[in-house]
Symmetry: C2
Subunit: 192 residues, 2 copies
Amino acid sequence: MSHLGYACLMAVDPDHVLRTAAALLTRKSTATMDEVAKAAGISRATLHRHFAGRDVLVRALESLGIAECEAALDAARLEEGTASEAVRRLVGAIEPVAGLLAFLYSENQLFEGEELNAGWTLIDDRISALFRRGQLGGEFRIDLTPAWLTEALYGLMASGAWMVHSGKGAPKDFQHMIVELLLGGALRREES
Amino acid sequence: MSHLGYACLMAVDPDHVLRTAAALLTRKSTATMDEVAKAAGISRATLHRHFAGRDVLVRALESLGIAECEAALDAARLEEGTASEAVRRLVGAIEPVAGLLAFLYSENQLFEGEELNAGWTLIDDRISALFRRGQLGGEFRIDLTPAWLTEALYGLMASGAWMVHSGKGAPKDFQHMIVELLLGGALRREES
DNA sequence: CCAGCATGAGACATCATTGTCTCATCTGGG
DNA sequence: CCCAGATGAGACAATGATGTCTCATGCTGG
């Protein structure tokens, strides 16, 4: 037997499979394991060897989504500059993951009884903290709770991802549309 | 044979079944036909006699959702008063349907190839027209398209429904949270 | 060259949901 | 009272997705 745990030869790259699955399920959330395998260019048997069951695959996608979200949060440097600038960076950084997030969001309701991955709470807390920072600094209004602002951001990102996905909006407008509406609202600013 | 088309005796009320199904599927979008029947207090056979198949049931729910949406649009009198007031009335009127809308929204992706019910376009147009009216009247900013404002409203309503459903928010705050964020945004208003 | 290992293809049983059917029962109107 | 119609309960097959298995193939490392 080889002294290496696994690395030998034409082994499938699990990360590539995962990302292909994410791209497919983002478009068609009911895709079959067979379709996922075909999209990844592997057989259903091999897919099953790496992810033993659809739930395992979804859990792995959840971990991927959480990891990418946290990477986006890190890249956005939420502690630096004004809260508004941080929100803008956050939306821009999270845009590539928005589709996957929307998929996971719709799948989460299937994990009703089971425990919710603690990673989501971590992310919620970091975003809530950003809004709280904006409130304490006098930048954001205080009559909307950080929790609601966080949920609203999620909803707006889902709408933005939908606009882009359906072709009604350009990806380049994603960040601007969301940030402008979330921060500025629909009303005209007399003071501007 | 009776001279009346159908009305005879202990006939099931299809509307009651529909509303029960809506309430159930709002909470558990993957509910079985059996669960739907049980929730409505009828047998699966009878459910099947009224709605021949799950797709027929979902289509009926779609029609119900469209009808209730249009009723809400009518009740909100979108042409009266300022656009802001109309938006506030709209959100308040549509709140009871928000859960059903979220369910239908998630199901619509399953009707990929098939034709989309024209009713949705009608509703989109009416809401878009409201935002356009606000823009033309100088009330709303013009750098966000009415189409985006409409989609954003949907997203915020989904987030609001989620907050209420998950117990993180009170139903009485639904209207206020959404309208304040959609119109005013998160930034503080110096002019207020 | 050869052995080992990952893969592809496919067969197979299982499971859940669904659509369809039959039959017994109950109710209310004529 | 009696019958038509609607319902409830359950059996049944069909379908689709899934999990598991075997076998042949092809490649790599030694």
